[in-house]
């Protein structure tokens, strides 16, 4: 049951608005009338299952005290689900290299989920459009001002919409560039010249931005670097080993910084 729930969490139907996506047609629907009973049965069990999932999924984060990161599922059409091995590899790196007791799997949350408050660290990435509903804007502001942290990774393409949406969340605050001597670049590994460049795309220097609330960093935004890209399994993008190592180190710094500040 546990594995099944996990599967349902991670499995998300591909966004039809994205080019090149295939529609998956369940084979059952192609069958004759004899299959009607089977379809009904599956339908019913799905309803029952979804009921249990509602119940079981709620406390799943709070019950487990291991450190994990929740991937933010946002609206607007962007590919929020891109790079499914990024978080798992970061959690594995934390487990192997530091004394952070990390979980093996990522979580998935929406800003309006109640379980958002069992995970103070959320991650968002993508190439496309980001759009929050009015309710989500309020929920994110509350989450961040009351102790939560958001790491946004620009996978090249979400910069414009992300900045627009963050202005809605904090109309009176700007994303400011984080100076190289900030603790975030020195919390575990030393990055004397700031954010490393991981994935080359349009020849701009990498930049780390942040939003602060009452002196505490509540949002970190890596721009023109794509740390997430370097966290993926080696075969996905064929990034050189050295780049992947730098990405993991920077991501570990981020987690350590948040946990110790």
């Amino acid at each position: 049951m546990g594995a099944f729930i996990q599967y349902l969490h991670l499995y998300t139907p591909p966004d039809p608005s994205q080019e090149g996506n295939l529609m998956i047609i369940p084979p059952l629907l192609k069958g004759g009338r004899g299959d009607l009973k089977t379809i009904l049965k599956i339908f019913l069990s799905l309803i029952i299952c979804s009921f249990f999932i509602e119940i079981l999924a709620m406390p799943s984060l709070a019950q487990d005290d291991k450190f994990t990161i929740a991937r933010l599922k946002y609206g607007g059409g962007g590919d929020w689900y891109v790079g499914q091995t990024q978080i798992t590899n970061l959690l594995k790196g934390l487990r192997e290299r530091t004394n952070v007791d990390s979980a093996t799997k990522q979580e998935v949350v929406q800003l309006t989920d109640k379980k958002l408050y069992s995970c103070p660290f959320i991650y968002m990435t993508g190439h496309g459009n980001v759009s929050f509903t009015e309710e989500e804007v309020k929920a994110l502001r509350l989450y961040l001002t009351r102790g939560g942290f958001l790491w946004a990774n620009d996978d090249y393409g979400m910069d414009k919409s992300f900045r627009r949406e963050m202005k809605r969340v904090f109309p009176d605050k700007d994303l400011v560039e984080v100076p190289f001597d900030h603790k975030i670049y020195h919390s575990y590994y030393d990055f004397p010249s700031g954010l490393p460049k991981i994935h080359e795309h349009d020849n701009k220097p990498p930049k780390g931005y942040a939003i602060f609330h009452e002196g505490r960093m509540v949002v970190f935004y890596d721009y023109e670097s794509d740390i997430g890209d370097g966290l993926e399994d080696a075969q996905v993008y064929n990034d050189p080993l050295e780049k992947r190592e730098q990405a993991l180190r920077m991501a570990i710094n981020l987690v350590i910084y948040v946990l110790t500040n």
């Binding site: 005290d65 530091t98 069992s118 009351r146 102790g147 919390s187 110790t260």
Partner: protein, 657 residues
């Protein structure tokens, strides 16, 4: 059976009466002028046994009331007497009391369980006696030099409505008036609240007294003043927090400490490699004793003792025992588990004992419940009102796991517990000159972050930690070479006072061959010599029996080879137990309920002659009943299993499975 109340409230004289309550009892039961004394008549009709009670019950051959019990437990008296006569026919229990039950089980319940009629004789007046008292002073135990220290004083009164009285705050040692105000008494509003304040101008432990002016014909003057201590400190409290690994529990605790304007926190988180985050620039454990002793409170997070070098562990122990530092032990698998502090040289200083294989995390949702001591204790005070404090704790977001395999150490005090599992949750003990507090939970951060979905905020989480740290810092005595303390600040008369002196040389090594000159100044301004004897490791003790109410002061001077090491003094108060004098009128409703529920009858002491005819002869034997939860019975489980199995078989047979 005849039960006589022998508590202090029985020594009061009700207005309009000449004799005290016990004197009227003696008169009613023993006086045989005119006709036969009641006790004699009872003895003729029944086989009688006398008992006298306060907080405890004892059988008596003859009635000899002294009114010295500092508490009254009516419930226990009934239960104990009936238990003594189990299996024998009992006509009933005669209970003679003013009904000022103030400790133990609800006496109505005891009367119901007793199964014999209780005939109650009420002593005293139902009307509230005329009195003015300081019922409570709410004040922070720690204050800052040259900063305003506010306090809230509650005044209760009866019988003096409209009278103007002055409420005054004085510094007890020099008698200087610090603040005062005048109020018009009004008993209909319940307690009257008065706000007073002072700006402490000297460091150290300072004693204050709040007093309210007296009026003629008050029941007692003993409750017209209230004395308390405040520790005045110069600067911010210094906290050293060493955490074993980055985790949310420590993140939220550190953020809360950093945000507190009166606390300066050094936060070190251990790395896997044996260093501390952040690595650039590197940080270290305090190198010298002086560096460590500089902190008021040290917090150890989920860290294994093996992380520290042996001399560092010894230094931590020294910090508590001799430096008077306070230490907080947080729970986690590294600190409480196998190879945790339960096996280390620090194990003796812990307020809990950890089982051989360490404590174990068990997942089970629970809310810590405050114990009797916890309800009003500053370390866990989220509201100044004990009932509200208890309710706030009960309603905090629940915690998701508790620690099994821990037990409370003898002498330690439990403030909050996991009631379902009977496990201590917050407990502390004094060790040497310092204090050690443990918290057996590692997801308290749910009270900060997890409270938002419940519609709350993190204010209780912040209040808990700030109160806790302040209290721990307040009990820290300065690391003087000579220190004398008493086990309590307030004693009741005839309670033994134990004084302890700690004597160290300049290196903070214990001195075992010191010559101690000690005197105690008693309220009559006379002095008595006090003899301290060595217990161990620079710790000396002396005992003293106070015989009168008032302020006492102990002065200690220690020498070694004719050279002065240092001097120290401490003060304590002896006051007759206030609980017995807080509510003094006859509690008739309670007594009538006891009589009704047990099938007996109620009589006032003035109508004592009605008592005898109302007692019925009986052949009933005492049957004792015991309550037991059937849930814990294995038989119930078997029945449930059997039913389920039968259902399954029936379904199977009918082809439903």
């Amino acid at each position: 059976m005849l039960l006589f109340d022998d508590s202090q409230s029985m020594s009061l004289t009700d207005s309009g009466e000449k004799a005290t309550r016990i004197d009227s009892v003696k008169k009613a039961f023993l006086d045989n002028s005119g006709q036969k004394a009641i006790i004699e008549s009872l003895k003729e009709r029944f086989n009688t046994q006398l008992y006298q009670f306060g907080s405890d019950v004892s059988p008596a051959e003859e009635l000899s009331l002294k009114a010295q019990g500092t508490l009254t437990d009516v419930g226990k008296a009934i239960t104990k007497a009936v238990d003594d006569w189990k299996g024998q026919p009992v006509a009933g229990v005669v209970l003679v009391t003013d009904g000022r039950h103030n400790t133990g089980e609800n006496p109505v319940k005891s009367a119901q369980k007793a199964g014999v009629p209780v005939y109650v004789v009420g002593v005293g007046q139902v009307k509230m006696p005329c009195d003015i008292l300081v019922s409570r002073v709410e004040v922070s135990p720690v204050a800052y030099l040259d900063h305003v220290l506010p306090m809230r004083v509650a005044i209760s009164s009866n019988g003096y409505d409209g009278r103007e009285v002055r409420v005054a705050l004085t510094q007890t040692d020099n008698g200087l008036l610090r603040d005062s105000t005048t109020i018009k008494l009004n008993s209909r509003t319940g307690e009257q609240i008065v706000d007073l304040q002072t700006k402490p101008q000297q460091e150290g432990t300072i004693k204050f007294t709040v007093s309210v002016s007296s009026a003629p014909d008050e029941l007692t003057l003993q409750n017209n003043s209230y004395t308390f201590f405040v520790k005045v400190v110069k600067t911010k409290l210094k906290v050293l927090y060493i955490e074993g690994r980055p985790r949310w529990e420590s993140t939220f605790l550190n953020r809360t400490l950093q945000r507190d304007p009166n606390i300066e926190t050094t936060y070190l988180v251990a790395t896997k490699q044996g260093g501390y985050y952040p690595q650039f620039p590197p940080k270290t454990f305090p190198n010298t004793k002086n560096e460590l002793f500089f902190y008021d409170v040290m917090i150890l997070g989920d860290i294994s003792p093996s992380f520290f070098k042996n001399d560092q562990l010894a230094m931590i122990k020294d910090y508590v025992e001799n430096g008077g530092g306070s230490l907080v032990f947080l729970a986690g698998n590294n600190s409480y588990g196998d190879n945790g502090f339960g096996e280390s040289i620090l194990k003796d200083i812990l307020p809990i004992e950890i089982g051989q294989n360490g404590a174990r995390q068990v997942k089970a949702t629970f809310n810590p419940i405050l114990t009797q001591q916890g309800m009003t204790h500053p370390a866990v005070r989220l509201s100044d009102d004990p009932a509200e404090n208890t309710a706030i704790w009960r309603d905090l977001p629940p915690l998701s796991k508790f620690y099994d395999g821990i037990g409370i150490r003898a002498g330690a005090t439990v403030l909050a517990e996991n009631q379902q599992e009977k496990k201590p949750f917050i407990a502390f003990q004094r060790y040497g000159k310092g204090m050690v507090l443990m918290i057996a939970g590692d997801d308290l951060w749910q009270w900060a972050f997890g409270s938002y979905p419940f519609g709350g905020d993190d204010s209780y989480y912040r209040k808990f930690w700030s109160g806790n740290i302040r209290w721990l810092a307040s009990v820290r005595t300065q690391a003087d070479l000579v220190t004398v303390t008493t086990s309590k600040q307030t004693y009741s008369k005839d309670e033994k006072v134990k004084a302890t002196a700690y004597i160290y040389n300049e290196n903070y090594d214990p001195v075992n061959d010191a010559q101690i000159k000690a005197q105690v100044l008693i309220p009559s301004r006379a002095t008595r010599n006090l003899i301290f004897t060595l217990e161990e490791n620079g710790r000396y003790s002396a005992e003293f029996n106070p015989t009168m109410d008032g302020n006492y002061k102990i002065d200690v001077e220690a020498q070694r080879n004719g050279l002065l090491i240092g001097k120290s003094s401490t003060e304590f108060i002896v006051q007759t137990a206030t609980l017995e004098y807080l509510n003094t009128q006859l509690n008739e409703p309670l007594l009538k309920e006891i009589a009704d529920i047990s099938g007996g009858s109620y009589h006032s002491i003035n109508d004592i002659s009605e008592l005898l005819p109302s007692i019925k002869e009986t052949k009933d034997t005492v049957v004792s009943t015991r309550e037991r939860s059937i849930w814990d019975n294995a038989f119930v489980l078997l029945i449930a299993l059997a039913l389920l199995t039968t259902e399954w078989f029936i379904r199977k047979k009918k082809g439903l499975v």
